[in-house]
Amino acid sequence: MSGNENSQRQLIDPESQLTFEQAYRWMLLARILDDKFASLYRTGKIHGGVFLGRGQEALSASIGVNLRKNDIFAPLIRDGAGRLAFGESILDAVRTYMGSSLGPMRGRDGNVHRGNLKAGLLPMISHLGAMISVVNGMLMARRFKGQSGMVGVASAGDGMTSTGAFHEALNQASIEKLPLVVVIADNQYAYSVPTSRQFACHSLADRAVGYGMKSFVVDGTDLRACLITLHKAIARARSGQGPQLIVASLLRLCGHGEHDDAGYVDPKLKVSPLGRDCLEVAENFMLEQNWATHSSLAAERAGFQKQVEEAVSQVQREPAPDPYRENWQALATQSLSETPGLSNA
């Protein structure tokens, strides 16, 4: 399954079997890829942190399958499924985690900090809220150039909504009437901090009123609901109705990163509807609808496992970055780089 397949598609029916199955496949692939990253982390094969999207794949995949080739996507750390659905290759993901010099970040940045600007996929910085205004600027630039019909989606979490950058960017998008969709995955915890210590409004969707934005709420564990809601919001933004805000409720089914056992998660939440595993929910739905059988799902899983294993073994044979071949220059304008010899070159 390649990203091109999706990027060619211009119109989708969010309620169709075809769309559901496509989104499910991206969810499954993302889950398998995440599981592999977790095991590579535990065996010390990955430097730095590993951050999984477990429990958020339905929402994330729904973003990706609803976007088109010329759109813009600013994912966050739990958007593995959305990245794949938007066109990121398994290799790009693996190369970035493994620090391969052939990856898009060339070992200069790692793990979830990867992207492909030419394809409209933004490599996030760690400072939450900072990517939304970048998407705004890209959309403003497209407008300067006389382009229309595209949309930008920026992912957010419940924690990000507390930042000034989030507020500034949503306000800016509304003033400029940009085709922006902000998707908040309200996963109940920002690292260890519960939402009761993050915001005091009834629902984060209420924030939209203050920006003059249209808002949507959705059950983030329900792929079908996510596909329909994303489709609606993206269609509105695309047709010139200004920025849209989606708030999806779900539970992060892992720690903040793989270093975190998430012991702070309220056990009651785990057994509540929020704690459902969206991948299982999607599989059960497909079985109920007779769109799949247990054996067809198992075959699908085995196929993706093979793809992921192949990608990892390929990347493990690839060259690591070489400090002696690195040019150690941060500027595009080489003639203005500081004189070497003053640093520890």
Partner: protein, 321 residues
């Protein structure tokens, strides 16, 4: 007809807008009002849709400029006072400055920071923040001291494929005048000998160049010939021109309007000390603002930052050694 430093900044922006359709200006009050200092006067009318009022959101202003640059635009962001750039600091030092290194995609944005003190402006409208921005890799920091440089270096800033922080000095806006806009300029990143001399080198930048020139005039009456190096750009920093001057004079005094801890004067002295200690006949010295917020009242402000008199006093002590 005489042209002020501020006129030069306006003229450079008008030329950039006229020459390159990728250029636009975004900042508070820059539209119909023409900017708090009138640096964009009439530009919104002359270039419809390309000189845009921004909400009071420095973070989003700069973040959006990075996004526009990714798409091939060349935004000019006017921050109303350099002091307020700290609200957008994250986007400058983490987003704009890292973009090319991380992705290979250039980030050609120009951020204009009206900088430095004028009497009566107080702690939050007077700051000189060049040391902070020069500290970060991936940024260029220009500090023009003349009308000619204000014009030519702003045009260069817009043309450069990297984020340029353009420190324009508010004190110079109306005080400095030239007869005409320049048609040629020194290469970007090159320092300039503003006054040749043989007894001592004073390295300065921005408004301090003029305080240093006034000090040199006073010292000339006492028979001293002071050489003044105007850095023009603090990052990159033209160490060669500074070293060549120190090689001629054997004495080095660095003057900066920003605070003393770290910063440009410390950097210049560190470079000369590490690469050319043997060129120095006396220990190098530096003169900065006092280590307090910038005061409001002229009596306090007038001694908070280095003045021609303070520079001359410091120079005299070194010349007598």
């Amino acid at each position: 007809m005489s042209i002020t430093y501020l006129d030069a900044i306006r003229a450079a922006q008008a030329k950039a807008l006229a020459d390159d359709p990728r250029v636009y200006i975004y900042g508070q009050d820059v539209g119909a009002f023409g900017g708090a200092f009138k640096a964009t006067k009439n530009l919104a009318k002359e270039f419809p849709g390309r000189v845009i009022d921004a909400p009071i959101s420095e973070d989003a202003m700069i973040g959006s400029a990075v996004g526009a640059a990714i798409e091939g635009m060349r935004p000019i962001i006017e921050i109303q006072f350099a002091d307020f750039s700290t609200v957008g600091l994250n986007q400058i030092v983490n987003q704009a400055s890292t973009l090319f290194w991380r992705t290979g995609v250039p980030c050609p944005i120009t951020i204009r920071l009206p900088s430095g003190g004028t009497s009566g402006s107080g702690p939050f409208h007077s700051q000189s923040l060049e040391a902070i921005y020069a500290h970060y890799p991936g940024l260029i920091a220009f500090t023009p001291a003349t009308v000619e440089d204000a014009y030519s270096m702003l045009l260069e800033a817009v043309a450069i494929d990297d984020p340029v922080i353009f420190f324009e000095h508010k004190f110079l806006y109306y005080h400095l005048k030239a007869e005409a806009l320049p048609t040629t300029a020194l290469p970007a990143g090159k320092a300039r000998v503003a006054l040749p001399g043989r007894d001592m080198t004073i390295v300065a930048y921005s408004a301090m160049v003029h305080e240093a020139l006034a000090a040199a005039e006073a010292l000339a009456l006492e028979g001293y010939q002071i050489e003044i190096v105007d850095l023009r750009s603090i990052k990159p920093l033209d160490t060669d021109t500074v070293m060549a001057s120190v090689a001629r004079t054997g004495r080095l005094l660095c003057v900066g309007e920003s605070w003393p801890w770290g910063g440009v004067t410390a950097e210049v002295i560190a470079r000369v000390a590490t690469e050319g200690l043997d060129l120095l006949d006396v220990p190098p010295q530096r003169l900065n603002a006092k280590d307090t917020p910038v005061p409001y009242h002229p009596n306090l402000w007038g001694v908070h930052r280095p003045t021609a008199r303070a520079i001359a006093d410091a120079a005299r002590q070194m010349l007598r050694t």
